[in-house]
Assembly symmetry: D2
Homo-oligomer: 373 residues x 4
Amino acid sequence: MSAAKTTLNIAMIGQGFMGRAHSNAFHQVGHFFDSPFELRRKVICGRNRESLQAMASRWGWDETATDWQAVVERKDIDVVDVATPNNLHAPVALAAAKAGKILLCEKPLAMSVEEAERMAEAARKVPNVVWFNYRRVPAIALAKRLMEEGRLGQVYHYRAVYLQSWGPERAGVWRFKRSEAGSGAMGDLLSHSIDLALMLNGEISELSAMLQTFAPPTRDVDDAVLLLARFSNGSIGSFEATRYAIGRKNYNQFEIHGSKGMLRFNLEDLNRLEFYDCGDQQAVQGGHQVLVTGPGHPYVDRYWPPGHIIGYEHTFTSTLADFLEALAKKQPFHANFDDALQVQRVLEAVESSSADGRWVRLGKGTTRGRSEE
Amino acid sequence: MSAAKTTLNIAMIGQGFMGRAHSNAFHQVGHFFDSPFELRRKVICGRNRESLQAMASRWGWDETATDWQAVVERKDIDVVDVATPNNLHAPVALAAAKAGKILLCEKPLAMSVEEAERMAEAARKVPNVVWFNYRRVPAIALAKRLMEEGRLGQVYHYRAVYLQSWGPERAGVWRFKRSEAGSGAMGDLLSHSIDLALMLNGEISELSAMLQTFAPPTRDVDDAVLLLARFSNGSIGSFEATRYAIGRKNYNQFEIHGSKGMLRFNLEDLNRLEFYDCGDQQAVQGGHQVLVTGPGHPYVDRYWPPGHIIGYEHTFTSTLADFLEALAKKQPFHANFDDALQVQRVLEAVESSSADGRWVRLGKGTTRGRSEE
Amino acid sequence: MSAAKTTLNIAMIGQGFMGRAHSNAFHQVGHFFDSPFELRRKVICGRNRESLQAMASRWGWDETATDWQAVVERKDIDVVDVATPNNLHAPVALAAAKAGKILLCEKPLAMSVEEAERMAEAARKVPNVVWFNYRRVPAIALAKRLMEEGRLGQVYHYRAVYLQSWGPERAGVWRFKRSEAGSGAMGDLLSHSIDLALMLNGEISELSAMLQTFAPPTRDVDDAVLLLARFSNGSIGSFEATRYAIGRKNYNQFEIHGSKGMLRFNLEDLNRLEFYDCGDQQAVQGGHQVLVTGPGHPYVDRYWPPGHIIGYEHTFTSTLADFLEALAKKQPFHANFDDALQVQRVLEAVESSSADGRWVRLGKGTTRGRSEE
Amino acid sequence: MSAAKTTLNIAMIGQGFMGRAHSNAFHQVGHFFDSPFELRRKVICGRNRESLQAMASRWGWDETATDWQAVVERKDIDVVDVATPNNLHAPVALAAAKAGKILLCEKPLAMSVEEAERMAEAARKVPNVVWFNYRRVPAIALAKRLMEEGRLGQVYHYRAVYLQSWGPERAGVWRFKRSEAGSGAMGDLLSHSIDLALMLNGEISELSAMLQTFAPPTRDVDDAVLLLARFSNGSIGSFEATRYAIGRKNYNQFEIHGSKGMLRFNLEDLNRLEFYDCGDQQAVQGGHQVLVTGPGHPYVDRYWPPGHIIGYEHTFTSTLADFLEALAKKQPFHANFDDALQVQRVLEAVESSSADGRWVRLGKGTTRGRSEE
């Protein structure tokens, strides 16, 4: 690729919910960001031929295909985007890495740590991304900046919940099958919370967890997962992810208490961050309700004026924009396959702890956090 | 009265909702404040003999009486507290002032400006209070302090609503009769909003208003009142008070925008004040949700530890405490009859504007505000 | 145009903030909706040649042009989209209507009622739209549906504020010049609030208003506007729009109290509607915080799963989608030029009332509301 | 004691924060409730003679004493109220029970399960109360009623946090010393959360816990405690109590998700309950923000009109009122010593699990829940 406005031909494997979210990002990134690349939606690959054609037509993919092995080896493809059910992440990504493609992959990265390790190793040879899109929520990027600036002081507590409510009517989709999804709420929801925690608060050193399936006949994955954790920085935390949180739709929340303040975020209120600042004069201390739409906020200057909020889809667009900029400048990008491997290690410890009913210690450096970035 | 723990014998005229609130304050003030006086609940006076006895017994009044004229002239009475329907405020207060009693009176002060002027003149000779109790909400006292410190800068907008929802089932009480109440939402609710506005933002110079009665057969007072206003400090404002705000119970709210920030308060959330501070670093600007329960907050150090909230009744207790302290130190106290007269002038301008459909100018100095306190 | 996937060639006049918002909608409508038309971004027309080229390139406009008169007469143009400063709405729209083009126009429609009447008359001959995009906020569309179903009962109060805070640094843009903008907060912000009020609560019969300019040297338009109103349905209301509401970014709020409940919305919280339902069992009555992201909610099924929020830009996309569907089905569409004319009549009454200091009566039927739709 | 207005002579042991809260309740219960008893504040007993005199004088205690053993054996004492540091609960309560006194005791009941068992056994012979005052928060009593009515359906998740922020400046008080307090956040805060959980959601069957001391040099008790739990009803839960939650003052929160809805409460917002009701029409489902101030709400009809909120202290008054009514009617009362024993068992399991790093199973029936009441 040369420097200016090189075209990148993309092959996307998968055509579901994430296929739509990625397609949108491929479209929108150039509208809002000064992208150094011309993205071409070259081929979309999926199993269901009928829906595939409609999807391709709606989102402007040049071609459709059903054989992903053939697609990832095509010479004219620069980027392979893996948006399949989880059990296909490894075979597709490994083949694409072998073929030297730029690699984008949905989360959770893999079905096991062993698989994730092989994928991360293969991916180190190519530019790569894992779509932990919530890192680019402006409010979360602002939280990260505030923590890096030391605005929270010493962290004491990290508390995260990811609450959804899936009706029984949704049973039957691949996300409820262990063979395709690997796990339930754990891989789907908890993986996001863990990725954010590692990014914001660093390495987890040990944990005690429980997994719960409320409706065993209709599914063989976990409906809910809870854990207690100790972080290497001395703070303690708890996590919960569940698909049985009636009353919540997409409540991905974290709260962090440090010696100098508190941060609070919740994805149903994506454009807002709460920041309690002990640096404020005592009489006016209280959680600042920050509408993170600028000025001075990450990403949002690319979209609309202050107060004109953005939504879910923008997190993918901003992720892609950051990656393309890193790619052009040959700089590292996060979250990548190595970051996702750390998440996978935590998930495996969760399963192990849940099975044994014991605390599990994570080896030093196995869940790399913020300081290494 | 001598300085230390002089006993004050109180006569309360009235036994309704306000009679309970005042009785509670007379009880509680000494528990939470270092009151310089011993308050004695000497006599409670009302028309309904039966309920009066129960009330006296429950709240510890030594005696009951039905003839207020006789009561206010009793030599052994030091304080007369007027908690009657509005049409009796003037006769009772005038008689009590003439008898040299310390004078406490419910709001709205009077049925007309003419009446209020006579009352204010009479009251200037004795220590006196009008129970504009919301001045002592800790969050409002904090708002006042912040404004006096210049934390809002130049004020542009003052916006107040007082929203209640009275079902039709409440028709029949004296508050719906012009002959006893004088007005409806205007005297009952708007008077509070106006008192706070004059205290916080100073004199109103002109206004345009409308009064509305939604259910004329059952009442002859206003159900709702709205007005636009210009303040002498150059800011503009709007007010609304209504008993037809279905969904709100006691939503006494104000919002103030100045060049340096915003303040927001609502009585249904009595322990909280929102303060947007343009002095904050830009990226973390957002309304501070201040839980006004200390430390460093007005009044609350007298009650419970931080986070242990107080309620409606405490506003009367704190009002009484401040008055007793002022009385002991022979210092001025607000809100007094003169303050309430200013409110009455605004209410009369509201009625006049509503009748004529025109803006009404208020004479300079007629609605005295903060600067004179 | 024939039924299936006719191509519509669009000419957009204007390249500012609204030009971006419209360009995005032209791109996105086909991704999320089953659009019966193929939209072609044919030509973008603007005065600044340099920025125009960048804009065209970024948003995929085939051609650029600087002479709008020539553009609107081009035979190959089907749609003219007016996204210019307000003073050009009339000349462009009139020329485009004369040329038989489908007409899209930004709000406020015109500089005066006289101008708006000429535009509305001309537009009756062609399919036409005014971009009152907030009608398509899912929460507002839901509010409309609830009101049409009678869920609020008899309306008593309608209360709207549109609060922004423009720093003095923004002085100099066309929106501060009467010659280009016609008015300030009134046309820019209040017009939205009035459009929503007419849609939701019907005709305004009379009003009393005030206009305020806080910083006359730097601008000759209003910074703030306030008004009291009577609606034909017997309810009363107040409106405020201001660019001096420090602490608020884009707080377009309305609250409606009826005999059966309350509705509350605020644009900074675009995905949420509060609904107090007196039909609920008394002990659990309280404002429902409805996250309007489905299921069963307008528009959002076209975008993302429940809890995955949308943003500002989607309101334009949904507006366009509705219009294209109406166009294909030859059905009426709102808001159109006639709807915008009603808004203009209210704005003119506001100016007149403000100048005279009197209530102004609006002729019956001049501000047509919901019932006529 | 005879039926009507028997006088109960009270001896209160302790004069700290809880001594004030109880004194207030003894005063206020007769003002707001139709108490069948005349309460006489007979003697207050404490170690610090000087502060004791001031306390007695302020709150109207007839006598002071420093020897609690003598006090609890006085013939003229009917009620002994234990408001001492935790290590004195057992000796005082046991002596008082032996003397046949009505027994009121602060929480946590004891220093160990063994102690609690002895106390509970002794208390079964006399009317007794443990001051788990939050059971009488109107919003919590409403939550209980809704759950008993089956409004939540099958419970899946129970989530509780009790967040406070104690500055280091508070080190030195007895609450930081193991010898006097027994534990830190666990006994002080978690005990409240556990009591509410057992009341609302029934027996806990097993748990995994961690205790944390952030500042060991200044204290020998836990600063924070976290646990995961399984309830006998099949639901799962998590608890956290901490004095290091900077940004929170008294945030005693619970959230419960069931098959039919969600409940959410937080003590900093004492007058509110959030209820998500799946029985609502789908389009208007959303958490009801219920202002629990009547009508139709527990306790609040005894205080002030709807929307006139109550505070922390009222929870003690209402607890006392319920107890006195039960006493008069010779009915059971909760929370009593047996209820507090169940809490103590959970706390001991927490310590045991934390020490071992394992799940701990609680014997069936050891933590009795709602169904037995």
